[in-house]
Symmetry: C2
């Protein structure tokens, strides 16, 4: 028996509609690619999104059409988030840091009709345009004055298109449709195989936005000044473009400015109190602040995901800046936000060292996300804080299948198998101990490459490092540690192994340390461990270790 409730659908356009009514004067501040700062309000964003919807219509864009964006974090990209999805088309956020052949692959796989592109990413498109048969044209996200010379054909200027719509276009009859309609598309770039697409629905994005603003995740409010230092082309800037209007945050969009100086300028000038970013971003900021002797910052929290939270950074942010380091966990396939450790009264009441330790976990699942850990035989692993298993999650904003891809091996029994190996403690706190494919199987037991890397990376001479499993005649696999040293610093194999001693189980100690100049990376900056494994697979045998 169904309830007698209206079947109002959850659509992303309603988030911006809410903001323009409830928070019409709240600001969105963008560092433009043109070099200057742009500011406007949610009411302005709404009007321009309406105009953009008219412009898309005039370009012939309709329901289900995929529209690509290759763009940084700016107000124009935000307008695309709402106008494209709002008319029932699908915004495909393309990661411009991918290699040209990957960009070509995903634009063709998605069958994108148009590409909206920032100044600076045209060269790659010029190179691959001949091999993009579905793309009817390119819209450069700038004004007439800044339109670049380009060999691309069918090129439009974004501001010219919007201006042509005129003021009559400041409203738009947004269609109502099924909330399961696709709203946006983002490809993950693994270290092997072709990128795989995650097709988000309107329902998923609205429910994810509600979870995101809640105290269990980002705790966004009307007095939050939010700066996403995560890209809008990568896992939707962690949903910030949808969550900020719902909460009525002031939104600070840093454009392409990811340097310490650029970040600090915006943080100080706009009084940013919550930042979103990977650990490296906050290390960059810390280095900048330290170099300039700055300790007083408007930041209250940095929300940190995409990699493990090093306890040193947790401590540094608290003790030097009074900033709470808030770990979050998620991936493109999970909305992306799934877990966090917000600074609740209970957490803030803990002894400091205990709290810091918890801040290196991924926290607990938000309402709507169910998570568990599983052994190889699919049995649930105990939540004892020690036993590890593959992390699986499910919920209304979790991917159930890759786009146009029949391989369901990542979706066993209705769960998403995350590929992370994790432990969950009796209180529900989850800690990722490794990527499944990076775990080293030594003598039938698992060694976490991630845990070793986390410790080694704290060594003052170490810039970055990677641990991979290489062939061993007796133990099947043994860990090999690859280290890139800081410029001008030195350390020996013995130094590094002594540093590890006592911090990990003796049998986890790498069999060898190899110093290298750099580590191979993917387009999104992840270490290509498969490449390292291939290159070093016979290392122990060859070196006779």
């Amino acid at each position: 028996m169904h309830g007698n409730m209206m079947n109002t659908q959850l659509l992303v356009i309603d988030l911006l509609d809410y903001a323009r009514q409830q928070f019409p004067h709240q600001e969105i501040v963008s560092q433009r690619l043109e070099g200057d700062i742009h500011r406007y309000t949610y009411r302005d964003a709404w009007q321009r999104s309406c105009r953009l919807a008219h412009a898309l219509e005039q370009l012939g864009v309709g329901m289900n059409d995929c529209i690509a964006s290759m763009a940084w974090n700016t107000y124009r990209h935000l307008e695309l988030y709402y106008a494209v999805s709002g008319i029932g088309a699908v915004l495909h956020t393309v990661n411009p840091r991918l290699f040209a052949d990957q960009v070509e692959y995903i634009i063709n796989h998605a069958e994108d009709k148009y590409v909206f592109v920032d100044l600076g990413f045209l060269a790659m498109l010029e190179e691959i345009q001949p091999r993009l048969p579905t793309v009817k044209g390119f819209i450069v996200l700038t004004d007439a004055e800044h339109m670049p010379e380009t060999s691309l054909t069918n090129v439009y200027c974004y501001e010219t298109l919007l201006a042509a719509v005129g003021e009559e276009g400041d409203t738009y009859p947004w269609p109502r449709f099924d909330e399961n309609q696709a709203a946006s598309l983002c490809y993950t770039s693994g270290t092997t195989g072709n990128p795989k697409g995650v097709l988000y629905s309107h329902r998923a994005m609205v429910l994810h936005a509600q979870a995101t603003v809640s105290p269990a995740l980002l705790d966004l409010r009307a007095d939050t000044v939010l700066m996403p230092m995560v890209a809008m082309y990568h896992a939707g800037a962690w949903g910030a473009p949808y969550a900020a209007p719902l909460a009525g945050c002031k939104l600070v969009l840093p454009g392409s400015g990811m340097s310490g100086a650029a970040m600090w300028q915006l943080i100080e000038q706009e009084q940013v109190n919550v930042g979103l970013g990977v650990p490296t971003i906050w290390l960059t900021l810390h280095n900048y602040l330290q170099e300039h002797g700055i300790s007083k910052v408007p930041l209250e929290r940095v929300c940190v995901g995409g990699a493990a939270s090093p306890i040193g950074m947790v401590r540094t942010y608290q003790e030097q800046y009074g900033v709470y380091w808030q770990p979050i966990w998620g991936m493109t396939e999970t909305g992306p936000l799934a877990t966090s450790l917000p600074p609740t009264p209970a957490i803030m009441g803990l002894p400091l060292e205990q709290r810091y330790a918890l801040q290196t976990t991924a926290g607990r699942a938000a309402f709507g996300v169910e998570m568990d850990i599983f052994a190889a035989d699919d049995r649930v692993v105990a939540h004892d804080g020690e036993s590890s298993g593959e992390l699986r999650v499910r919920g209304p904003w979790i991917c159930s299948q890759y786009y146009k891809n029949d391989d369901l091996s990542s979706f066993p029994n209705g769960w998403l198998a995350t590929g992370d190996i994790a432990v969950i403690d009796p209180e529900g706190y989850m800690r990722v101990v490794d990527r499944k494919k990076d775990v080293i199987k030594s003598g039938g037991e698992w060694i976490s490459s991630l845990e070793i890397e986390n410790i080694v990376s704290l060594h003052s001479a170490v810039n970055e490092c990677a641990v991979v499993g290489v062939k061993h005649p007796k133990w099947d696999e043994r860990p090999l540690l690859l280290v890139v040293l800081n410029k001008g610093m030195q350390a020996s194999e013995t130094d590094i192994l002594q540093y590890l001693s006592g911090k990990i189980a003796k049998w986890w100690t790498p069999d060898a340390v190899e110093f290298v100049r750099e580590l191979p990376k993917t387009g999104t900056g992840k270490v290509r461990k498969n490449e390292l494994r291939d290159a070093y697979i016979n290392y122990l045998e060859e070196r006779g270790v």
Copy 2:
């Protein structure tokens, strides 16, 4: 094209499941009907709800069965909210303050299978049991020791049923089903006709809970100590039983204790910081505090709906107690919460008098609720803060039809016509100026009975009052003011009319004032204006005014 997201359904049991994982030690404190205070945690509530689900199963309760409760605000009623809906049955919260024939009508209309009843409401059931053919039994919400003598047949003791399940019943395999499945049922009692049922779905209640905890409505957090002084039998205590677990609030359930002394005891002892209730409740509390010379209270906010917020109370709560009076608006058909005026930085930054004035409005719509005002010809009325029209709302937790009722006259064009006459100002603040049926049509124009009543009720000699439209030869209708004076106080017609002078338009001035001993009321305490109109319809002619 659908997104590739899991089709996880939104079910109310997940709210309690979340709380027992995320806030296992948070307390639920109840004033028991047995006289003592009971305290336990969300984890306990979860275990006992599991046991109750087993007990319901053993009673033969299954999907779609309607189960009635006639109960105050206690932990046992909370368990019914989760266990009954959790197994796919429907919790029908019966208002025990209704007249016996109405209770009989709605139990039969809902075809309830069992009735869970608090100590104190058995007499009415004993009277009507012979005329309740669908009811198989009655479960008294108490333990064996307190089981009363009763002439009811098929009577069970709640605690005995739960004890029989035993510890093996501390978990339950909650079924997953369509989120549109009905979860609960509540009848509205208008002043005319039979009560009408609102059948809430799981989806509606989960989305309503998410809106309720958000800063736009009740802004509930893990450090909130929430005391609903609105009954769990009436519009679901404004959704508090669903929202509190989601936010991890400490929940204080006052049982039947609605006196000033009972309220204050719990507020002080449990350090309640947010209360929910109608204006009368907060007047009762204020009278008690004043009588006892108390001005320091742990309350931070009282959230007030169900009737207009008098500016005197807004001011008194702020200036005497430092408590923010937070108006909300809603009705049984709207979840019930739809609008509010939370103390945002923008609101708190206003000059005090301007803020107080806003606090007498209903505030603005929460995310998910769309509202507008309509003229008699269905055209939208301007949001100018002056033009009034019928308030209509829509959204995922708004009723689309009454239960087993084909009359769709309250649901024009996919909206719920609320029966309230309201104005909306350019900033989106809504103010109810009258009930549609109570508006006085004088010479083709409208006079708001509510606005006149609000002013007259501020007169120190007036206990309560009502304005109704009565026949007039020239103007069709003219307002008649009926006044109940405070005990031992006196005022003349001239006094009252002089008090009104200058506060309303001259042509709104009532043609006469009649002093009466009491006003006729409905089971839920609303003045029966239709009865007054019938009784006084020829008043002006007879009195020769």
